[in-house]
C-alpha cells in the first residue's frame, strides 16, 4: 500500500516491540492513497520527514506467543529521512 508521511517521531530508547528498534525507533502517521490516516512503525533508524512517500507492509515482530503483525512504513527510493 502506497502512503505519504503526515508526521513522524523518533523515540531514542529501546522499542517495546520484540526484535525491533533496540537503539530507538520511529512511529509515523501516514496517509494512504486511499483510506484514513493510520499509525505505523517505520523501517530504519530515523524518522522520515513530512511528505516522504513509501509503502506500508505488514511485518511480523516478536517470537513465539509474543508475535504480532504490525504495519511497517518503508520509505521509497529518494525518500527523505532525518531525526
Amino acid at each position: 500500500m502506497e502512503a505519504s508521511v503526515w508526521a513522524a517521531t523518533w523515540v531514542p530508547s529501546p522499542s517495546p516491540f520484540p526484535g525491533f528498534g533496540a537503539d530507538g525507533y520511529a512511529v509515523a502517521w501516514v496517509d494512504p492513497r486511499d483510506g484514513a490516516r493510520r499509525q505505523v512503525l517505520v523501517a530504519g533508524d530515523a524518522a522520515p520527514s513530512i511528505g516522504t512517500t513509501g509503502t506500508v507492509e505488514l511485518q511480523l515482530l516478536g517470537d513465539g506467543d509474543d508475535r504480532s503483525e504490525v504495519p511497517m512504513f518503508v520509505a521509497g527510493a529518494g525518500g527523505e529521512v532525518g531525526r
Binding site: T9, V11, V27, A28, W29, A36, R37, S68
Partner: protein, 372 residues
C-alpha cells in the same frame, strides 16, 4: 439555561511521590473539600470516584471511611478525563434534584502501584508504546504547519514549570527560573518533546463538593459537557491516544451554548497537557485563540498568569503533576481557586469566567465553564 449548581468546596493533597494508601489520599482530599464547603459528609447525597489504576472497591472504602451513610457511591474510569467525568456526574446528581450536595473524588498512585491495583494488559502492540509518542507525531506536524521550531514549545513548558514554583501543591517546583534552553536541553523522550515538555506521573488526590445554590465562596458551574471520540479520518486511534482536536471543538461548542457564554468571556483556563504541544493545540480547538495568532501569543508570554490568556497557571500536567484519575478535579480546583482570587503569587487578574478541559486516553473529553 445553566445547571444552577455550584462548586461549594475543594480540596487536594500535595502531588508527587507518596507512600500513602489510596484510601488515605482520597479521604484527605474529600475531607478538605467538605471542610472548605462547610458541610458534613452526612449532608452529601451521592459520591462519584475516579481512578484508572485503583484496586476494585476502593471507592467504597474511601466513602465508608468518610461515613456509612448509605448514599450511592459510584466508581468510574475514564483515564485522564476521569476526574471531570466524576464532576459531571456529581453536577447532574444535584441538577436533577436527586440530592442537594454531591462529592466528586479522584485519586491515583502511579509512582508505585497500590497493592491489588489494576495494570491493563496490552491488547495490541500499540498499547505497549509510551503515551507521549502520538503527541510527538502531532507536535512534529504542528511545528511544521506553524513554521517554527521546538523553541516555542520550550517557552510554553518553561511557563508551566515557573508557574508550578508558585504552587505549593505542585509536584515539580523548581528552585530557579526555568529557561527555554533548559527545557530544550533535557533528555529527549520522543522528538521534538523533551522530558521537561512531558507530564509528570505522580500520586495524589483531589475532591470537589457540588451544591445546589450559592454558598459563601462558591463558584457557579455554568456548564459541563462530555463526549466520546467521533470519527475523524485524520486521527488514528491506535494505543492509548486521546481524541482529536475536532472532538474538543465539538464539546466546547456545546459547553459554551449551555453556559450562554462565548470564548472571549474566558479569563483563565486549565487544559489537559499530557505534553506541552497539547496545550497549544487545545486552546485553538477550544476557540480561545485563532490558529494564526497562537505562536505569537505563546512566545509573547500570553499564557502566563499575567498574560492575556492565562493557561495552566498551576503548572499543568507537566509540573503540577498528573495522577490520572485525580487530574481533572485538580484542574477544576485551580480554576475555582483563581475565580475566588485565592491563588496567591500565581493569581490571575480579576477573572470572572474560567474554563476547564480534560481529554483521556480512549477518547473521552470534558469541557466545563465556571463563573465567579
Amino acid at each position: 439555561m445553566t445547571l444552577d449548581v455550584h462548586i461549594g468546596g475543594v480540596g487536594m493533597t500535595p502531588f508527587g511521590a507518596s507512600t500513602d494508601a489510596l484510601d488515605d489520599l482520597g479521604v484527605a482530599a474529600a475531607s478538605a473539600a467538605l471542610a472548605d464547603a462547610g458541610l458534613a459528609y452526612q449532608e452529601i447525597g451521592e459520591v462519584f470516584c475516579s481512578s484508572m489504576l485503583a484496586p476494585p472497591q476502593t471507592a467504597l472504602r474511601v466513602a465508608h471511611r468518610l461515613g456509612r451513610t448509605g448514599v450511592p457511591v459510584t466508581a468510574l474510569e475514564s483515564a485522564s478525563a476521569g476526574g471531570l467525568v466524576a464532576l459531571r456526574h456529581a453536577a447532574l446528581a444535584v441538577a436533577s434534584g436527586r440530592c442537594d450536595a454531591a462529592l466528586a473524588i479522584g485519586y491515583e498512585r502511579t509512582t508505585a502501584l497500590e497493592p491489588g491495583g489494576v495494570v491493563p494488559r496490552p491488547r495490541t502492540i500499540w498499547d505497549r508504546m509510551p503515551p507521549q509518542v502520538h503527541y510527538g507525531i502531532e507536535a512534529t506536524r504542528w511545528l511544521h504547519d506553524h513554521g517554527c521550531g521546538p523553541e516555542v514549545l520550550a517557552v510554553v513548558a518553561a511557563k508551566s514549570w515557573n508557574a508550578a514554583a508558585l504552587n505549593p501543591l505542585a509536584a515539580r517546583r523548581p528552585d530557579h527560573e526555568v529557561t527555554p534552553d533548559e527545557v530544550l536541553s533535557a533528555r529527549m523522550v520522543t522528538t521534538p518533546l523533551t522530558r521537561m515538555m512531558c507530564h509528570a506521573s505522580v500520586d495524589g488526590a483531589a475532591a470537589v463538593v457540588v451544591t445546589r445554590g450559592a454558598r459563601p465562596g462558591s463558584i457557579e458551574l455554568l456548564a459541563i459537557e462530555q463526549s466520546s471520540a467521533m470519527v475523524d479520518r485524520g486521527w488514528p486511534v491506535d494505543g492509548p491516544v486521546a481524541g482529536p482536536p475536532s472532538q474538543t471543538t465539538w464539546t466546547a461548542r456545546r459547553a459554551f451554548e449551555q453556559a450562554g457564554a462565548v470564548a472571549s468571556d474566558v479569563d483563565v483556563v486549565s487544559v489537559h497537557d499530557m505534553c506541552v504541544s497539547e496545550e497549544l493545540v487545545t486552546i485553538v480547538a477550544l476557540g480561545l485563540v485563532d490558529d494564526a495568532d497562537v505562536v505569537d501569543l505563546a512566545i509573547g508570554g500570553g499564557l502566563a498568569p499575567d498574560g492575556s490568556l492565562p493557561v495552566n497557571v498551576d503548572g499543568g500536567c507537566i509540573a503540577r503533576g498528573h495522577p490520572m484519575g485525580a487530574t481533572g478535579l485538580a484542574q477544576a480546583i485551580e480554576v475555582v481557586t483563581q475565580l475566588r482570587g485565592g491563588a496567591g503569587a500565581r493569581q490571575v487578574r480579576t477573572p470572572e469566567v474560567g474554563l476547564v478541559q480534560a481529554a483521556g486516553g480512549g477518547g473521552s473529553c470534558v469541557v466545563a465553564l465556571l463563573r465567579a
